[in-house]
């Protein structure tokens, strides 16, 4: 499946789960997904400068009735940890965290970041699920949204290269 097709399935899943505001920071592997988010008129897209501010933006939007997701790389998840602890967990705010899993098995870069991603999520008590097949995206996103709303805690979906589809080869810079 191409990354554009996978992106349509994932964004379709977000909308099916009621998500209507998405805060993002780019990673090359997220490029098709973020384009799809940006072009969808049913989703308010908030491009960030740093992931931690996205935790605040999603908190404020949740408090006035929006359903939010934050899409970032796992390095950005580490950037967000203080806000996740002292805002999301302290105030019991639900939020769907869609985290690109850099350093996943078979990935050549960021193996240290990859090695620490699931242990840190676990230490924070954030339940997480690894997404591999884009065909499962709709179902998993729906379930994760139910869990985050019901538990009033963030829930993480780890986006692997497989679930994001095959991207077009990079042009040399």
């Amino acid at each position: 499946m191409t990354s554009d097709e996978a992106a349509r399935l994932i964004v379709g899943g977000l909308k099916n789960a009621g998500i209507n505001l998405v805060a993002t920071l780019p990673d090359i592997n997220l490029a098709s997904l973020l384009r799809e988010v940006d072009e969808d008129p049913a989703i308010q897209h908030v491009p960030l400068c740093r992931e931690e501010e996205g935790i605040g933006i999603c908190t404020g939007a949740y408090l006035v009735g929006k359903k939010c997701a934050a899409i970032m790389q796992n390095g950005g998840f580490f950037n967000s940890n203080n806000a996740i602890v002292s805002t999301l967990l302290q105030y019991q705010i639900p939020l769907l965290l869609m985290i690109y899993y850099a350093g996943d098995v078979g990935d050549r870069t960021f193996s240290t970041t990859g090695a620490l991603t699931e242990p840190v999520l676990q230490a924070l008590g954030i339940r997480s699920y690894v997404m591999r097949d884009p065909e499962d995206a709709r179902e998993l996103i729906q379930r994760a949204q139910i869990l985050t709303e019901d538990s009033k805690r963030p829930v993480a979906l780890l986006l692997t290269k497989e679930v994001l589809g095959r991207r077009a080869p990079l042009k040399s810079l």
Binding site: V46, L48, E53, G56, G60, Y62, L63, V64, Q90, Y91
Partner: protein, 203 residues
């Protein structure tokens, strides 16, 4: 000349109507709550996130005024919120910064604004067109009244002193603050935010 933050907050309370208010970690929260006790107040615990939480509210409720009661230490910790606010350009957001040039709640060490960093200059450079210093109480009152009456994103900085006013402690914890705020928004906006779903066996 440095103004009293409490006097500035009085001017905000007098002008703000039913605006939602987000206050930064620190004494500003206690002073604001003494002057305008309301379930429409949200206290921030993460230093820096005040302006970001206010931005999220402003984007989610574009017809409701949202006021961020920010401080210099807080804004300096989350400077990237300025370009993001400028980029999203919410017409209903009023970003106030009480700049006392110290980390007041953390031992009063100097912040970068105490040695020359200009927060209004940073806001303008980030793309917030309507950013200004208020250099007297009258100028601040005028600016806040204009911001409430107007329809554009505003950033107002004011230099304040470090004296504190005796006010009661914050009466509720974070989770109660969340629920009260949510219920207040539901009631005043006529919307449903917190729907408690029945277990499947009840369906």
């Amino acid at each position: 000349m440095a103004l009293k933050r409490f006097d500035c907050l009085k001017a905000v309370a007098a002008a703000c109507g039913d605006a939602l208010a987000v206050s930064s970690a620190g004494a500003v929260t206690l002073e604001w709550n003494a002057l305008r006790p309301s379930d429409g107040n949200f206290r921030v615990r993460t230093l820096g996130l005040c302006s970001s939480i206010a931005l999220g509210m402003a984007l989610g409720l574009p017809r409701r005024k949202v006021i961020a009661l920010d401080g210099d230490g807080s804004l300096l910790m989350n400077l990237c919120s300025l370009p993001t606010i400028a980029r999203m350009n919410p017409k209903n957001l009023i970003h106030l910064v009480f700049d006392n040039e110290v980390y007041e709640a953390s031992g009063s060490k100097k912040t970068a604004t105490g040695v020359g960093t200009d927060l209004v200059g940073l806001a303008r450079a980030a793309g917030v067109k309507n950013a200004q210093w208020a250099d007297s109480l009258e100028a601040f009152e005028r600016a806040i009244r204009a911001a409430i009456a107007g329809g554009e994103l505003c950033f107002i900085g004011v230099k304040t002193g470090t004296e504190r006013v005796e006010v009661p402690p914050y009466p509720i914890d974070e989770v109660e603050n969340k629920y009260r705020f949510l219920r207040y928004v539901e009631k005043t906006e006529g919307i449903e935010i917190l729907k408690v779903n029945l277990p499947a066996s009840y369906n």
